[in-house]
């Protein structure tokens, strides 16, 4: 029963990963990266590693996104390449 959820989450993780490195807007990249972290958190939770999921949700989806956004505020919003 948990197999389809696994596949959906993993497919979304891959999509988020590709989108995060391909968007031109760095703020959008930070937000998509946060979504990626949150999906990874879901994936850990599905696998039963609740402690890891909690850490991923707080550090990956929470604080590191704030750091990314704060860094984007002090640099250019759009990438050069």
């Amino acid at each position: 029963m948990s197999l389809p959820i696994d596949f959906i989450v993993l497919a979304l993780v891959v999509i988020c990963g590709i989108v995060a490195i391909s968007v031109k807007d760095l703020m959008a990249a930070a937000i998509v990266f946060s979504a990626y972290s949150f999906l990874m958190c879901l994936s850990w939770a599905v696998m039963g590693a609740v402690d890891v999921a909690f850490t991923e949700a707080t550090v990956g989806a929470g604080v590191s996104t704030v750091f990314c956004v704060a860094a984007v505020f002090h640099s250019t919003r759009r990438t050069k390449d």
């Binding site: 402690d51 929470g62 704030v66």
Partner: protein, 279 residues
């Protein structure tokens, strides 16, 4: 250059996938990790440390030495941000912005102009970069922050029984301060939680962790062997609760270190080291 990068990524990814196929399957009962190591930890955590959540026992007791250096790595990250970004002299921006509170007008005062008093009730300084003034955001965050902090304390204290522990609770505590800084401004946050406090608390957190280990050493046991703490806690020798309390004291150290380092990194990153105008 792009094609070379793509080729490197594809080759590395193919090699990783190829070798990952040799790994034991997820949840394979016959894999080396699951034959003796995991069952040993799962069966003995209650007997050894009286902690139902085996992850906490592994992290803070069986692998305590490892976690001590993880905490040190977090502190080092904060120090690295400090040394890279912090500027000693605060270079004031050419123009400062003030909001006239009764009317909501924004004033732009050029360099050399007469600035309002520092503790003026009528004029409040606002950031030049990004200064939304939303009553809803400020009051909602004011309400939420207290509950975030309460939940963080619960996560730290209840890490023995439920998912969580020092790292997660510390990050939650830190993010509550960051939330205050985002919903108000950096200068007001710095008045409540100064940079020096963050630096000292981070070091104190690591000191609590290693200090627990040294107390064990002084009591005649190995470094971070919490069993030796039982006479200090008024417990019988060999009582598993000694290890439980040892884990708790270590978790408090981790929470202190992680909380203040998160805030410290945020201060330096959001204001580009100037600690004047932030996100």
């Amino acid at each position: 250059m792009k094609i070379t990068g793509l080729l490197t990524v594809i080759i590395c990814g193919a090699l990783l996938t190829y070798y990952a196929m040799d790994f034991p399957d997820f949840g394979d009962g016959r894999s080396p990790a699951n034959t003796y190591l995991s069952p040993h930890f799962l069966e003995n955590t209650m007997h050894d440390a009286h902690v139902p959540n085996s992850v906490t026992t592994i992290l803070a007791d069986y692998r305590g030495y490892d976690t001590m250096y993880e905490t040190t790595v977090v502190l080092t990250a904060g120090l690295a941000c400090f040394f890279l970004l912090r500027r000693k002299e605060s270079t004031s921006p050419p123009a400062r912005f003030f909001r006239h509170v009764p009317t909501g007008l924004t004033l732009r005062i050029e360099e050399g102009g007469k600035l309002p008093a520092e503790n003026s009730k009528v004029f409040t300084r606002i950031d030049s970069l990004w200064a939304p003034d939303s009553l809803i955001i400020r009051n909602t965050c004011r309400l939420i922050i207290a509950f975030v902090q309460l939940f963080a304390l619960y996560v730290v204290a209840h890490g023995h029984y439920s998912p969580g522990g020092g790292f997660q609770g510390g990050v939650l505590l830190g993010s509550s301060i960051i939330l205050f800084s985002i919903s108000n401004d950096l200068r007001r946050t710095l008045k409540r939680f100064r940079e020096k406090t963050a630096a000292v608390l981070g070091a104190i957190g690591v000191l609590i962790y290693s200090g627990t280990g040294f107390v064990c050493l002084l009591m005649g046991a190995h470094f971070l062997n919490y069993e030796a703490l039982s006479p200090l806690l008024g417990l019988k020798t060999g009582d598993p609760m000694a290890r439980s309390h040892g884990i708790f004291s270590v978790e408090i150290g981790v929470a202190f270190a992680v909380m203040s380092v998160m805030i410290w990194i945020y201060y330096n990153l959001s204001s580009a080291g100037k600690h004047d105008e932030g996100l």
